[in-house]
Subunit: 125 residues, 2 copies
DNA sequence: TCCTTGTTTAGACATCCGTCTAGGCAGAGA
DNA sequence: TCTCTGCCTAGACGGATGTCTAAACAAGGA
């Protein structure tokens, strides 16, 4: 596992949205990351993995945290993995997942806008 | 406009994913924001609005930046607005949109994870 | 009042997505 | 080798989503 179909190192910018408009190419690439997190189950999976001391979690623990079937959890993990947000490795019988901090940071920085980015009259309106 | 169907001020945490796992409720709420950004057209719209000096953009300018029809752009703007990422106001003939920095910051902070959040052997693997 | 322009709404349609069941593969142990 | 457990893949199915055309609404000007 740890399938090396790693997403091509994207040239997606790491600058906030407020600095300059995205190209269509960057938008397509970055949207994949947000889309993967745009589902409550996947966002919880990501948080369960990210918040785990030691950095990695066995699939069996993740499955136990939901009322969904194994295949459904497996599907969501695959979506997160194909988006580059997590990676995994089989060790013996079990498969462990962990987050890819660089990918999360890229998306975080994109949304890191200064507090006063809206027109003043709009704020007070 | 500036429709006051503003999303109920959510109690969604502003702490990074690495600090603790999300509740199901928070995950549902936060996922809406990411889902709205999970489309390349919407992400470009958001960046066009966010990067505009002065903070607001007329719909007509946004429509011109795409090969999509007006109604389609209007639909995407509505999705972004219902997610709480942008807001708008009609002034005369034109409608202006601007971003909601607080919402973007919340999502940014959620993804703001330390660089070393994955197991060491995994990083070097 | 009527026309023109800018924007949104309504509804249709093809495609995508989340979930399930059934079945297959991988590793461990008897 | 057989079996058991953990996990993934394949395929089906209903509901959500992105796009369009047609039509309605809003504001300004003749």
């Amino acid at each position: 596992m740890s399938r090396q179909e790693l997403p091509i190192l994207d040239a997606s910018c790491c600058t906030p949205l407020t600095s300059e408009a995205l190209t269509e190419k960057s938008a397509v690439d970055l949207a994949k990351g947000f889309k993967a997190m745009g589902d409550a189950v996947r966002l919880r999976l990501l948080s369960l993995i990210a918040s785990r001391k030691g950095g990695e979690v066995c699939v069996c623990e993740l499955t136990d945290a939901f009322t969904l079937t194994g295949p459904t959890i497996s599907h969501h993990l695959r979506v997160l993995r194909e988006a580059g947000l997590i990676d995994c490795q089989r060790r013996g019988t079990w498969v462990y997942y962990w987050i890819v901090p660089a990918k999360l940071s890229t998306l975080s920085q994109l949304l890191d806008v200064p507090a006063a980015s809206a027109p003043l009259d709009a704020v007070s309106a």
